[in-house]
């Protein structure tokens, strides 16, 4: 697209959260608005007609920068729907290469990309989907040392990692930086999603305070995963990110969403901040 109009000092975006006005102080509003091209009007026509989006919303998406941490089962649908929706800048983080065992669920990748770095494979797939999106590959392992610099340029972070340790690292960094975080995990037929708006609701550590040691909680490699589950849950992550960018609806702030794909049920647990949370302090300031 090559015409990102984001003004780093632009007006802050506000949205309704649980019936009250909330501000992240992080999301840019529409800066010097540009008209959409005819191609863009056609590409985004089905969302431009939604009253809550329209051209102003499309412009917010275009100037938004979203970081998707993990280009696997959750990251595939999340990144694809964010790119398809016209999120202007999409960062992707992953250190792995595409393996045959990934293809059952990681729909960004195909057999022609076996052995290729996942972030490069994803970049090529997303370019085919929407060449107007600026995809920034970060081939790296996220650590407590590099995470702050990694998330700094982005407005919203989507956690799509395949391990618990990185979840805590990303959560803690987002809380510290005040970045909205869309957090999700999957296993077998189950998924859970939580949107973390620092200062507005509980963070991941408020609910799961302690990182279990390796082996205490099963991974997808050990316990398995059916691909459609991260498909469903990663799509919700994308939708939550879009809502946060646009300031629409009620994000899953303080609401842990539990998906049971076998029973095909959704349960919502209202979760409170932990006043003793070591990451966010639970509102103590």
């Amino acid at each position: 697209m090559g015409r990102h109009t984001g003004d780093e000092g632009a007006a802050r975006l506000r949205w309704q959260s649980h019936g009250r006005e909330a501000a992240t102080g992080l999301l840019r509003g529409v800066g010097d608005s540009e008209m959409l091209t005819n191609d863009e009007r056609m590409r985004y026509s089905r969302q431009l007609v939604i009253p809550e989006i329209g051209e102003a919303g499309q412009e917010k998406l275009r100037v938004a920068k979203v970081l998707v941490v993990g280009a696997g089962g959750l990251g595939s649908p999340a990144a694809m729907y964010l790119a398809a929706a016209g999120v202007g800048t999409l960062g992707l983080v992953d250190s792995d290469v595409v393996d045959l065992s990934n293809l059952q669920r990681q729909i960004l990748h195909g057999v022609n990309h076996l052995g290729l770095a996942k972030v490069e494979s994803a970049k090529r797939a997303l370019a085919r989907l929407n060449p107007g999106v600026h995809v920034v590959p970060h081939r790296m392992t996220v650590t407590s040392e590099n995470v702050s610099g990694l998330i700094e340029p982005y407005d919203v972070v989507v956690d799509a990692v395949d391990n618990l340790e990185t979840r805590y690292v990303v959560n803690d960094a987002c809380v510290k930086a005040g970045k909205p975080l869309i957090e999700a995990g999957v296993l077998r037929f189950d998924g859970m999603v939580l949107t973390v708006i620092p200062g507005e609701g509980p963070c991941y550590r408020c609910i799961f305070p302690v990182l279990p040691p390796p082996g205490a909680v099963p991974s997808c490699r050990e316990a398995g995963i059916i691909g459609a589950v991260p498909g469903v849950v990663g799509s919700i992550e994308a939708l939550e990110a879009i809502k946060v960018i646009l300031g629409l609806g009620q994000p899953l702030v303080g609401r842990l969403l539990l998906f049971d794909g076998l029973a095909m049920t959704w349960r919502e647990v209202n979760a409170a901040r932990d006043p003793n949370c070591p990451a966010c302090g639970g509102g103590r300031g």
Partner: protein, 75 residues
């Protein structure tokens, strides 16, 4: 008194259903509920009682909603 219990993810193995009611005497604690479900490994499970993380000494109240889960780490 009755409490509403939901088991999620790998915790479902402790009951036939994943959502059910349990009846206790007044003053019962969360540890009584976990004992009755025969949940012995309690170090890394998370129990939310009415949305708040609870420990084993938490006193249950009539109508309380108890969610028992573990973190889900896959992606």
């Amino acid at each position: 008194m009755k409490v509403n219990v939901v088991l999620f993810g790998t915790m479902r193995k402790y009951a036939k259903e994943d959502k059910f009611q349990m009846e206790f005497e007044e003053g019962a604690k969360l540890s009584d509920l976990l004992d009755r479900l025969k949940i012995e490994d309690r170090v890394y499970i998370i129990v939310l009682v009415n949305g708040r993380r609870a420990d084993e000494d938490t006193v249950l109240t009539d109508g309380a909603n108890v969610h028992i889960l573990t973190p889900v780490g896959g992606g």
